[in-house]
Amino acid sequence: MLSRTADALYWMARYTERAENTARLLDVSYRMSLQRQVAREGYWGAALGITGLETGYKARHGAITASRVLRFLSVEEDNPASILACLRAARENCHAVRGTVTSEVWETINTTWLEAAEAAAGLQGGALQGSELTRYCEWVKFRSHLSRGVTLGTMLQDEGLHFIRLGTFLERADNTARLLDVKFDELAPAGASGDEYYEWGALLRSVSAFEIYRKVYRDVITPQRVAELLILREAMPRSLHACMREVDQILGLVANARSQDTQRRAGEMHARLRYARIEDILEVGLHRFLTEFLERTADLGNRIAQDFLVPIAAPEGAT
């Protein structure tokens, strides 16, 4: 497969997954902001923190307000990480290699973009409010499910599909880690009083893990178990462990003459998650653990680009 083609497929999947995760983040932030009357703005600052876009936001909008952040993350065209921009980037990548995906995949991705653009145009500069926001986030998630389904259901199981899945899981690992990092920081220090029950519940729901938690632990929600579920549970499809298992396995399938070291690193990350204990991770500090994980994930992304895809250009001024 052409490196450029693999690159476009990989980024198509990453952007689709990113749009979904941003929708999940917006949804949970909105729900949490309804439940806790104090420090509302804090939630939106945290939401920006997860996406790493505070600087970009502040340069454009200044003070953090709920409606501006909502607009910034959902439909603002100039924000390269907004849901709308991600859906467009997914569509552009798919368009560039539309001959490689099935026509069903292309039609799904293209329709998602066309409908999202239409919805955004309908807002005329305003932001989504209340139930509209929830509905929009649900829609984005649904379209992402559909994209994944049509991909798995129609694509030939060859390299093309491998690179799509590689993109999906690497992006998901990154997003779950960011969400956990910010939200845990926000919720855990406050002490485990009953107030947080709804908030932990909202966090779990944001990664579709509320029912799973119940099923796995059959007990009250505790921060430690939430962390365990989202980091170490292999059977939990959005956990870091599950994502890295897939990444490790897929790299084995697409291996080439120069990808040995990349494979070794992915294997190491997978093994760590497989054998780690949550007590030890919390002992060292969750934030430290997740920060390191995010660095390694980013490094893995660069190595994948280098070995298989179109190398990511060094930022200007870098040597």
């Binding site: 497969m1 490196s3 450029r4 083609t5 552009e92 290699v97 001959g99 039609e107 690179f163």
Partner: protein, 480 residues
Amino acid sequence: MAQRGSLGRIFDEMHAPDGGIRPHYGSYQDWLQHTPPAQIARKRREADSAFHRTGITFAVYGEQTGKERLIPFDIVPRIIPHDEWRSLERGLVQRVTALNACIRDIYGEQRIVRAGLIPPEQVFCNAQYRPEMQNVAVPNGIYAHIAGIDIVRAAQPGGEASYYVLEDNLRVPSGVSYMLENRRMMLRLFPELFSRYRVQPVEHYPDLLLDTLRQAAPAGVDDPTAVVLTPGAYNSAYFEHAFLAQQMGVELVEGKDLFVHDETLYMRTTQGPRRVDVIYRRIDDDFLDPLAFRPDSALGVAGLLSVVRAGRVTLANAIGTGVADDKSIYPYVPAMIRFYLEEEPLIANVPTFQCRNARERSHVLAHLDELVVKECHSAGGYGMLVGPAASRAEIEAFRARIQAEPERYIAQPTLALSACPTFVEAGIAPRHIDLRPFVLTGKEARMVPGGLTRVALKAGSLVVNSSQGGGTKDTWVLED
């Protein structure tokens, strides 16, 4: 020759002059009368939304980047009786065979020039002549593997009509994907029509194209790797490039995916470099190789020409085919057919005045309001004057341009292109059409029956190009 005003009558593909329906449209007319208009309107909407969803669009140069338009699709088919197609096909194969012989000759012995049939300056001073290809052998001696020949039909004084070749497209002719998609759409929308008519299939075009490309591989390559080379997603015909690559099951590459090493062309893949033997290129000569042609081209591959000259990769079409599809060479094609094949041309040329010749020029300048004037090196309906439809000022502007650079212009009588019933806002009305059949040549020339019918949607307009607001129709060649 039908000139506007002199004959007046336009040949209608469906209706005979006495108001009756031509026999091959009889069954269609019957269907049309018995199908509720609301149902047809619904099918037309369905066609539009299907084309949008599948992204069968094209970009228009000069419009906002990334903005794509649909090419309007008309649901009334253009029907060609079997016998009529047989003679068209023979004429097209004859023409393309002669054109290939001529390009081979120009880049070889140059017999036709020495025989005095084409003035040497018109070949060697032509911007499309590539001295780099002189005496370079190409596989099977074929240069134009994919040719799109534009055919029009115009009324004769007797009330019948003749086919004419309007233009030969030997560089990167496009439109074949619309031919295929239009058929697919008609089958989907109106399956019942296909039980009334036995229509010859066109769906095997991609197979024929792949076979043609493989036949064109350099000698000694057993299992050649073919690719489609595109300028990229922003090209107006990108949909077609992707479509053909997908239908053939070959890679769609851009220049940056390819590199030359040791007189061999490779593509960059996830498993390392892989050798490429045949390129179906959809990039003009000028942009193919920055080392040989335009140095500012980012679309091509540095060193590609050297690999071609070493005979280690085949380009379809070859570099330099444009020398034979130029409008200034067009008048000589009938002579080529006689010279190389010793046959009489089966399809006529449109009579053409070359402004480079003083006598013809003065005739053109005296009749600008009746003629169509074309720039020799342009395509897509740009740079053209349609005399009867032009304003005084436009005519005078062209007059000045012709006088300044006469060798850049040719002129032809304004043909009354045949018309075919077409859905327009007010119902069904006749609109002018042309036809672009495609001729494929690996070792010998082959075709799928039919081609792309383009239709001028504006009443009275003779310009069918999609960049100028034209639409398309499905083209049915009937079984015997």
